[in-house]
Structure formats: structure tokens, C-alpha cells
């Protein structure tokens, strides 16, 4: 009892440790649970052009703020012969290029690759608003503005609804006189934004410009779109200034908040920024790995298989599949009751099958083993000692393999060249064991055990080559703990094996009435 309890406690511990680690990697580090999850990666490129006139140049460019819902994969700054620095100011991040003397057209690049992670939902900005500045309108506009504000106020309940009403009425398709007075004067997007900010300031609401990029693949020469952010007393709410919709739209990268300039060029003229966007698809696992390499999330990953060189990683890909094969063998033997020749030989066959592909592998396995058995039966007449005989069988197996390879190569069947992936010594032992089994227990037993081994190997192969299992076993080695827990539980299974239901079939007629 004690032992059983201890085992189940252990199983529970191992199982929860395994599942816990998997969940942590999935939820906190963003490892996707399924291999097909691809993430869109956007590469945003800002191109800054200006004309220099031989004076010292100082270019200051606003960089997008880091948001928790967007992961920055990579930031590149390119500008030949310019001094460069990245500044973290209170107003936001800025890039600064500088040069003593420059002449003619100049170009600087800023390239950013980002993807949206699922780690956190976008959160509202919560920084405190600046003090309000009372806008100054001339008398006519003042009256129109007041009327508009009154109208919006009467239709709304709080800051959020007020802002929405105000934006809607400004964008109305059949503008009233008041609206057209304000909007006609102010037609560009920037001006509309500053009008909104002013109108909201008149109402005593802090508002600011938010500019950003719609992330759509294949766009060139984009410019920033304006949004408006309104402080409702506790946090900032984002509004589309053309529709009045609130909230951050999908695939929108906030570049800048507040009224600071996007680009300042000292010493140059005709400065211009244009954005282009490329869409890219990458597997999210790669992103998580890339992400962790220079970020703090890498604590676990640093001490995981991913820290190994690629070559060793590939070896582990194979090794980590072995527990799956072991589980299959345990199930086949304990639950189904299939007899195999050699406990774990099926796993080795399955590993070989992975290299050779299923059908070709099985055919080659059968050819090698039956040819080996044939020659082995002759060897048994030669009166050899065991070690010498097995060594002879090894050489025979090599010869058979070589013949298969050469003949198939001449026939143009490249598939058969993979015969070398079968573990030589295992094959030799299999042949030896089968041959003894044949002599002692007859061919029937050889077929039972041989077929049992092959069936188990095929089932193991199917599991080990399953795309999802392959992905999971490599990316979540913690799964081994779960696997271990299952094997420990199966080790306690005392019920009947499936084949025993056939074996004890004759007891069907047994009359149990006198016993119960």
C-alpha cells in the first residue's frame, strides 16, 4: 500500500512538473503547442531623405515605443558615414544621426521587424496628461466650436461617449453650418487632429495625437496615420479620428504619442520620411527562440537543448523520440501482449525505418533477415563457437547490405541505399536469435515474434514520425516527464492483456456458478 501510494505521489509530481513546464513555456514564453502556428512578421522600413548643404547635420527621428503586445525582433539603423546614437527620452525613443559636413541628397534608413505576440493584450497607456492649454479661436470659430461641443455634450454621458460624438459630428456627411465652418478651414488630417485636440481642450479633456502605421504587407511610401488619444481621468483611450471608433485597431503600430515632431533635421532641407512595410511568415517557435536570445525570457532556454549547436540539436531530435518508442513498446507488451524478439529491438528498427521510409525499410529488413537466416542455417552445420558464429553473421549481414546497395544502385533504386541505416549488430543478433528460436521452438514462434517485433516497430515508427509528436518531443522535452509518469502508471497495470483474452478463451465454458 505504502509503495503504491508513494508511486502515485511520484507520478503526480512528475506529471505536474512536466505539464507545468509545458504550460509555462507555452503561456509565458509563447512556445506554440502545435507546429503549424505561423506568425506574421512585419518588416517596417523608414526612409529619411533630405538635402544637405555642407553644414553640420543632426537628424533626430522618433522611434516607436515598445509595447508589451508587440515584440521587436530586430532594429537596424543604416546611414553611411553618420554617427549614430539611440536616445531614450521622456517623450519617447529617438534615433540620432549626426555628421560634421554633408552635401547633396542624403538618406538614412531605419528598419524594424516586429510581430504581435499573444503574451499580453494591448493595454491602455496610463501616463499622466500634461496641463491643458486653453485654445485660442477667433470669435466666429469660437461660437461654432461651442455649439458643436454643446451638441455633443447633450448626446453623451462621459468622456468616452463625448469624444465619439464629437468625432462623429465633425465627420458627418451632411455637415451643419457650424461643422463646415470648422472642418472647411481645417482640411488635412494633421489639422483635423489638432482641431480635435483643441475642441477637447475647450471641454477640459486632455487629448493628444497618436500617429502610427497600418501594418499591411507590400505597402510602400506610407505615411503615419493619425489617431487621437483622450484621457478619461485614469487612462488614455484611443479613437480613430475619422470614424470615432475607439480602441487600437488590429495590425496598427503606434509610432509616436504627443505632439513631438517625427523628424527633425538640422542643417538640411526638404526632409521627408516614407515608410514601407513587408509582410513575412515565420514559425512562431523560431521567433520565440530568436526573441529569447537577447532578452530576459531566455533563462530557461539558455539551459535547454536550444543552446546546443545545431548539429547536436538534430541528434537530440532523434534521441528525444526514443521515449515515444519506449512508451509504444510498453503499451504493446503490457496492454496488448504482443511478443517481440528482444525487448527494445522494435525501437531500433523504428529508428532505422525513419531513415529508410516505411515500405522500403520493411522490405529491406525482411530481405536482410531472411537471407541472414538462410546463411545462418548453413553456418550451424559448421560447428562454430557462439562468438565466432555471431561475428560470421555480422560479416554476412554486411555482405547482404552491400549487395542490396550495389544491385539497387545499378537498377536505379536509390531508396535501397538507405539499408545501411539498419543497426548492424542488432540485425546480426536478431538473425542469431531467430535462428535459434527456429531450431528450438519451430518456425511458428519465429513468425509470431518476428511479426510482433515488426508490428511494434511500425506502430512506434508511425508515432515517431507523426509531425505533431516530433514537434512536441523536441520543443517540449518536458513531455518526457509526462511520458515517464505514464510508463510508471502502466508499470502498475495488473489487468489482462489483450492477447490473454484469446489465450484463455477455452475457459469460456467454465461453470462458475458453484464458486460465486
Amino acid at each position: 500500500m505504502q509503495a503504491t501510494f508513494r508511486l502515485y505521489a511520484l507520478v503526480l509530481l512528475i506529471m505536474s512538473a512536466g505539464i507545468g513546464l509545458i504550460l509555462y513555456k507555452h503561456l509565458a514564453l509563447g512556445f506554440p503547442l502545435l507546429p503549424d502556428e505561423k506568425k506574421l512578421v512585419w518588416i517596417v522600413e523608414a526612409k529619411i531623405d533630405f538635402i544637405a548643404h555642407g553644414d553640420p547635420i543632426n537628424v533626430s527621428f522618433a522611434l516607436p515605443p515598445k509595447n508589451p503586445d508587440i515584440t521587436f525582433l530586430n532594429e537596424d539603423f543604416a546611414s553611411p558615414d553618420y554617427g549614430f546614437s539611440k536616445l531614450e527620452l521622456k517623450e519617447g525613443r529617438r534615433a540620432q544621426w549626426s555628421k560634421r559636413i554633408a552635401d547633396g541628397p542624403q538618406t538614412s534608413f531605419y528598419r524594424l521587424s516586429i510581430y504581435k505576440n499573444d503574451r499580453m493584450a494591448a493595454i491602455h497607456a496610463t501616463d499622466n496628461p500634461h496641463e491643458l492649454v486653453e485654445p485660442e479661436f477667433d470669435e466666429v470659430l469660437q461660437t461654432a466650436a461651442t455649439a458643436l461641443l454643446n451638441q455633443a455634450r447633450s448626446k453623451s454621458a462621459d468622456t468616452e461617449t463625448f469624444t465619439r460624438e464629437l468625432i462623429k459630428s465633425l465627420n458627418s456627411e451632411s455637415p451643419t453650418q457650424n461643422q463646415s465652418l470648422l472642418i472647411n478651414n481645417q482640411s488635412s488630417a494633421d489639422e483635423k487632429t489638432s482641431l480635435l485636440v483643441s475642441l477637447l481642450a475647450m471641454e477640459g479633456i486632455s487629448a493628444r495625437i497618436v500617429s502610427g502605421l497600418y501594418l499591411e504587407g507590400g505597402r510602400r511610401r506610407q505615411s503615419l496615420a493619425n489617431f487621437i488619444e483622450v484621457h478619461d481621468g485614469t487612462q488614455w483611450l484611443l479613437f480613430n479620428q475619422d470614424t470615432g471608433n475607439s480602441g487600437l485597431p488590429d495590425n496598427f503600430l503606434i509610432w509616436q504619442r504627443g505632439g513631438q515632431s517625427l523628424l527633425d533635421v538640422v542643417g538640411g532641407t526638404n526632409s521627408r520620411v516614407s515608410f514601407s512595410i513587408i509582410e513575412n511568415v515565420q514559425s512562431s517557435r523560431d521567433l520565440v527562440l530568436g526573441d529569447s536570445q537577447d532578452e530576459q525570457a531566455g533563462g530557461i532556454i539558455d539551459f535547454s537543448i536550444y543552446s546546443l549547436p545545431i548539429e547536436q540539436q538534430n541528434a537530440f531530435k532523434m534521441i528525444l523520440l526514443l521515449p515515444i518508442g519506449a512508451l509504444v513498446v510498453v503499451i504493446m507488451r503490457l496492454l496488448v501482449g504482443i511478443r517481440t524478439s528482444g525487448t527494445f529491438m522494435p525501437i531500433l528498427i523504428a529508428l532505422a525505418l525513419i531513415e529508410t521510409t516505411l515500405v522500403a525499410g520493411i522490405i529491406m529488413f525482411l530481405i536482410v533477415v531472411s537471407a541472414g537466416l538462410l546463411i545462418r542455417s548453413y553456418l550451424s552445420y559448421l560447428n562454430l563457437l557462439l562468438v565466432a558464429r555471431i561475428s560470421a553473421v555480422i560479416i554476412v549481414v554486411i555482405t547482404i547490405m552491400a549487395s542490396i546497395s550495389i544491385i539497387s544502385h545499378k537498377l536505379g533504386l536509390s531508396q535501397a541505399l538507405t539499408v545501411t541505416f539498419f543497426p548492424l549488430i542488432i540485425l546480426a543478433w536478431t538473425i542469431e536469435r531467430m535462428s535459434i528460436l527456429w531450431e528450438e521452438d519451430g518456425p511458428k514462434e519465429v513468425f509470431i515474434q518476428g511479426a510482433g517485433s515488426l508490428i511494434t516497430a511500425i506502430v512506434a515508427y508511425l508515432f515517431m514520425t507523426n509531425h505533431i509528436i516530433e514537434y512536441l518531443s523536441f520543443n517540449f522535452p518536458e513531455l518526457m516527464l509526462v511520458n515517464l509518469a505514464f510508463i510508471l502508471i502502466l508499470g502498475q497495470y495488473t489487468g489482462y492483456r489483450f492477447t490473454e483474452l484469446y489465450r484463455f478463451k477455452s475457459l469460456e465454458q467454465q461453470n462458475v456458478s458453484d464458486k460465486s
Partner: protein
């Protein structure tokens, strides 16, 4: 239907392979005692010391170079059995029942030269028949003479009796008869007949071949119901005494009946198989439970045999529920 329902099996009280390994072998047989039964030479010496009858040991061969001594060793005998000391499941056993000059004959009539016997011995020594291919020892012992009672039931060789002994109490017994189909081997998988023997009387109960009930021996056509094992009490005592001899709680004791010397132990098995349940057409679980419910194990093999004969007899009139049967055992291994 090709399958029996697990529910029915449980009702009959059949022990499956997993349960045998977990509830009986792992539970009653400490690993360190395995060598006593896996090594037949050790078993034989142990049995001789304990005064338990075994076939006479004629000689042993330890190393490859001992093979040269074989000829000299064998000159004195016309019939003998060559066995690997660590063989399992009857593998590697060579029975020679007749000799003419330099030619040796198996019971089936196959002829072997001394050379072939030497090769067989050499194979055993190099570990062909031992578990894991480890180097082995060869043991040569005297041939058992067939008891006349079996002459109508034996196709080739000497039938052996398998008795399952739990903590010294014989639980179930089965006679294994080689047939033509099993190639003279007493292996049920290969077509030997298993005859369930009533623990209470030593009479045949039920017989199976290839998992199906059989009424007659397939080769001699003799009806099994007439079969009764002689020296039954002595045979059971012998089996029961193996518990003290080895300390193993779950044992398969293989016994042969010699025409002149009566029952003799030829082999012990710490992992006896489950076919005995098919041959007896009965499950082991009720009997295991009866033993597990006992408060203490009787130290005397004879009285243990009497207990078994009383409670495990197939004849219902003799059967009475032991007092302890209702005492709830705290052994949940078989629940």
C-alpha cells in the same frame, strides 16, 4: 467471438501475465534468490543437501577445453541427459536414451555422433541457451526411467508435472505430455498436452492441447480420465518442501516420476507460466486468496499439503471453506 470478456476471466479468477509479474513474482520472490533456481546446478546441490530427491548428477563441464573430457565421461553411460545449467524453458536439453558404439540416439530415434554432442556442449558453454548469452555450465545427469503409468500417455520422453506452490502450499498441478505435434517437447505453446491434475487426489481433471479441450492423447488415443498420478502425497510434499529450500514464495516445481525412485525434482521456476490455468480449466485467484488470507504459514510441508488437498480439491464434497477465508486480507495485490 474470438475473445473472452475480461469480466468473465475475472469471474473465473484467471491470473494474467501482468498480475502474475506484479502480484506474485515481484511480491513473493526476492530477486536475490533467483540464482538458486536459475542455476540448475545450485538447485540440485541445494536439494541434495535438503534431502529432496533429484536425478543423479553424472558430471559437469565448466570450460570449453573440458569438451575433450566429454568422451571419457560418457563412456560409462548409455543413457543420460545433457542440460545447460542456466537454460530456461527447456532450451538446450539433450536427451540420449541409447548408444551403439560411437552413435548416440535420442528417444525419437534421431542419431547423433559424438562430434555433434560435443558441438552441442560447446554451444551450451558459450552461452547459446542461457539468458543474455552469458557463458554457461553443462550438467550431465542420469536419465529418468519412464513410470509404467505414463507409458500409454507418453509420445516421447518422460512427462513432467508442474506444481505451483505459493508460500509452501501447492496450489495447482498440471501434467505436461509431449506429443508428436510438439516434437517431443513438453512445451504447451508447441502442442504438448497439458493435463490438469486434481490437487486433492492426483487424478486427471481436464486436458488441453493448443488451448482447446482434449479428451484423449492425440498420439496414443488414450483417454485422460483414467489417468491417476501415483505417489501423489509424496510428490506434493516434495513440491511443498521447495519453499523452505529456496525461500521463494511463488514457485513452479517441475517433478518427474522415476520408475524406480519415485518423484524427483528436476527444475524449479521462479516465474512459472499461466497455462496451468487452462489445463485445469480454473483460475488461480481464489486459491491465492485462500493462502493470502492465512494468518501464518504452517512450517510443516506435510500439513501444508493436507491443507491444500482439503481446500483445493476439485471434488466439491471434500471442499470446505477455510475459517480464514472470510478474514479480510490486507493483501491488495490480487484485489
Amino acid at each position: 467471438m474470438f475473445l473472452i470478456s475480461p469480466k468473465k476471466l475475472r469471474k473465473v479468477g484467471i491470473i494474467g501475465m501482468n498480475q502474475r509479474n506484479f502480484g506474485l513474482v515481484a511480491r513473493y520472490n526476492p530477486r536475490r534468490l533467483y540464482p538458486l533456481v536459475d542455476d540448475k546446478l545450485k538447485t540440485k546441490l541445494l536439494a541434495q543437501k535438503a534431502g529432496i530427491a533429484v536425478p543423479k548428477l553424472l558430471g559437469t563441464l565448466l570450460y570449453q577445453h573440458d569438451v575433450r573430457k566429454l568422451e571419457k565421461l560418457l563412456t560409462a553411460y548409455d543413457e543420460f541427459v545433457i542440460k545447460p545449467v542456466k537454460g530456461s524453458g527447456g532450451k538446450g536439453i539433450l536427451v540420449i536414451s541409447r548408444r551403439e558404439h560411437n552413435l548416440y540416439f535420442k528417444p525419437g530415434g534421431d542419431m547423433l555422433s559424438l562430434m555433434e554432442i560435443k558441438r552441442h556442449v560447446s554451444n551450451i558453454l558459450s552461452g547459446l541457451h542461457s539468458l543474455g548469452g552469458k557463458p554457461d555450465t553443462v550438467m550431465i545427469e542420469s536419465l529418468i526411467k519412464l513410470d509404467p503409468v505414463f507409458s500409454d500417455y507418453s509420445y516421447e520422453g518422460v512427462p513432467d508435472l508442474r506444481v505451483i506452490v505459493l508460500q509452501g502450499y501447492p496450489l495447482m498441478a498440471m501434467l505436461r505430455l509431449a506429443t508428436h505435434a510438439s516434437d517431443g517437447k513438453a512445451n504447451l505453446h508447441q502442442g504438448a498436452v497439458g493435463v490438469g491434475i486434481d490437487i486433492g487426489t492426483g487424478n486427471a481433471l481436464h486436458a488441453v492441447q493448443f488451448g482447446k479441450p482434449a479428451q484423449r492423447h492425440p498420439d496414443t488415443r488414450k483417454v485422460f480420465t483414467e489417468l491417476a498420478i501415483p505417489h501423489w502425497d509424496k510428490l506434493l510434499s516434495l513440491a511443498a518442501a521447495c519453499y523452505e529450500m529456496t525461500g521463494l514464495g511463488y514457485l513452479g516445481v517441475d517433478i518427474v516420476l522415476d520408475r524406480d525412485q519415485g518423484p524427483m525434482i528436476i527444475e524449479l521456476n521462479a516465474r512459472p507460466g499461466l497455462s496451468i490455468q487452462i489445463a485445469n480449466n480454473a483460475g488461480l485467484i481464489p486459491r491465492v486468496k485462500t493462502i493470502e488470507a492465512l494468518k501464518n504459514i504452517d512450517p510443516d510441508p506435510e500439513s501444508r499439503v493436507n491443507f491444500s488437498k482439503k481446500y483445493f480439491s476439485a471434488n466439491p464434497s471434500l471442499q470446505a471453506a477455510p475459517h480464514t477465508e472470510h478474514a479480510r486480507s490486507n493483501n491488495l495485490a490480487l484485489q
